[in-house]
Amino acid sequence: MAKAEKLQVQGEMKEMRLQEALREALRYEMARDKRVFVFGEDVALFGGAYGVTRGLLQEFGDSRVRDTPISEAGMVGLAVGAAINGMRPVVEIQFCDLLPLCMDQLVTHAARYHYMTGGRISVPIVIRNKFGTRPGGGPSHSSCNHGAFVHFPGLKIIIPTTPADGKGLLLSAIRDPNPVLCFESHHLYGVKGPVPEGDYTVPIGVAAVRREGKDLTIVTCGGMILKADEAAVELKSKGIDVEIVDLRSLAPLDKETILKSVAKTKRAMVVDEGPMVGGVTSEIAAVIQENLFSDLKGPVVRVGAQHIPPPHSPPLVEAMIPDVDRIVRAALRLVEGKKPS
């Protein structure tokens, strides 16, 4: 990233991939807290479809690291029950396209338990899953449905981008007394960065300003941070100074950071890998215009995925999800003050 967020830590740093940083969080917390355990399809013997849980079986044994049958709804339901009875389960759902299978347990049960029992019960579970649209993934394996969950009260939702955030947010999630959905980007698993050692947490619900600028705020999350950053570099060369807000959490949403940035730049764009319609871009656009209407120099522009299922073939995927060029063009239109066509 052009200008990485300064980490607020003194301790040692280690360079690692997001994938490894997430594993670090799991290892750290499993060692510290006996209540934490991990289960999911292929997480034990195989180490997880994306290697995040690799080595945990060997380190913590097959009672706390469990392979499961293919029963997503059951997995989440079991996690809810185990959490209510005092444990801290971390579940891996192989990819976010499978979340609809456990939707009832997630949105009606895990999410509502605290409220609907008058606060008597809370449900500290973490549901990790991979998301991201890419060639070859196709309609059942490469969705970005993180935006849909924002609509359901009671869930927390995190989307780490940097490896440091991967560790820090996941650690916070495991310690959080609420159900937390962790969306891990396919595009970022392999990206390296410095990660603080030891007990390092990043608060849920706090966005990060990844790049400072004065002409335009781009609000984004997940894998799109890479495209937004590239676009910012290109726009810089065209004399447009972009500020990038990385949401990190979708729920609670850090309106303060978003609004503070847009109040400064007076122009906002929301970039997301998920479908625009009814998604993250719409919510944030609505919030910004509602709060900063008279400050804005132009509409809040949405740049998200086209409203189709994620396709298989490379050119179709490219046409579907935002790329640097779409972001740059939208920025130019906005700054030049023209209505987007």
């Binding site: 029950g81 444990m87 338990y113 029992t117 019960i121 310690r175 608060p203």
Partner: protein, 326 residues
């Protein structure tokens, strides 16, 4: 055999369950409670037989027809009544209503209006017990209708492969709302399905509270000893309609209802105790009167208790986090 004292206690508890439903029905008619009732009348032997066999540390999960399980497991009648009436002093502060409660202080994992949804939750609670090596067992109450929910299947499979200390108590009352069990299941006894998950399934008379007690005790001991799950299909019947307002006769024959009323679980134990000379008819009436007057009392207090304020509290959706960030 069970002591007379224990059996009297079960008898009193069954009366309490019944009295509660009758009171609720009365309040429903008067529109003093909100939402629908789901009367447990007729099925009392299941909740009472099961919960009497459990230890206090044991847990239960329930479903929409949950008032019986709640009371039998030890819910406070006042708080329960308040919740039905949407009062602030209800278990869920009026947020949940009678279908949405949960309180671990008396081992109640929760109920919900989504048929089948607490079955994996109960199973997960049993997983927690196993992981910790604590010795509680978990009872998952479910209706016959819940047997055809996918997540119930998934949960039972987990219980089978991981040998979890859970008892599935299926209250087969022959109907799911208006759909008879014959229409929705192609075999005579759903207990048969337990085999497919690798544990035992038994079919028992769910109106015989002593039998339910004994079977639960056995299943609980097995679970505690690491022997895994048990499925108990308790044959029983709901006397009333599915919900308040449903006479329950549109899809059930009158004779069937009458026949099952003759098999009343309360009458059965009462008559047995009387025949054994362990209970006098007068004693029974006194017991019953005491229960009903307790309920009158509770109802009066609940009716006088405050409603929640007309305001929403955004914070109420999250438990407060104790995580500090260094």
């Amino acid at each position: 055999m069970l002591s007379t004292a224990k059996r009297e206690e079960m008898l009193r508890m069954m009366i309490k369950l019944r009295a509660f439903e009758e009171k609720l029905e009365e309040l429903y008619q008067k529109r003093a409670m909100y939402g629908s009732t789901h009367s447990y009348r007729g099925q009392e032997a299941v909740a009472v037989g099961v919960c009497s066999a459990l230890e206090p540390r044991d847990l239960v999960a329930s479903y929409h027809r949950g008032t019986g399980h709640l009371i039998a497991k030890g819910a406070d009648l006042y708080r329960l009544m308040c919740e039905c009436m949407g009062r602030l002093e209800g278990y869920s502060k009026g947020r949940g209503g009678k279908m949405h409660m949960g309180d671990m202080s008396f081992g109640f994992l929760g109920n919900t209006g989504t048929v089948g949804a607490t079955v994996p939750i109960a199973t997960g609670a049993a997983l927690a017990a196993q992981l910790r090596g604590s010795k509680e067992v978990v009872v998952s109450f479910l209706g016959d209708g819940a047997m055809n929910q996918g997540v119930v299947h998934e949960a039972m499979n987990f219980a089978g492969i991981w040998k979890l200390p859970v008892i599935y108590v299926c209250e087969n009352n022959l109907y799911a709302m208006t759909v008879s069990v014959e229409k929705s299941i192609a075999i005579k006894h759903v207990a048969e399905r337990a085999k497919g998950y690798g544990f035992e399934g038994k079919v028992i008379d769910g109106n015989d509270v002593e039998l339910v007690y004994a079977e639960t005790l056995e299943a609980a001991e097995k679970g505690r000893a690491g022997g895994g799950a048990t499925f108990l299909e308790c044959l029983t019947y709901r006397w009333d309609g599915h919900f308040g307002g449903d006479p329950g006769t549109g899809y059930r024959r009158k004779e069937e209802i009458e026949e099952w009323k003759r098999r009343c679980p309360i009458k059965r134990l009462k008559e047995k105790l009387i025949a054994e000379k362990n209970l006098g008819a007068g004693e029974f009436d006194m017991m019953s009167a005491a229960v009903y007057s307790e309920l009158d009392e509770v109802t009066k207090r609940a009716l006088a208790s405050p409603m929640p304020a007309r305001e929403f509290d955004l914070d109420s959706i999250y438990a407060r986090s104790e995580v500090g960030h260094g």
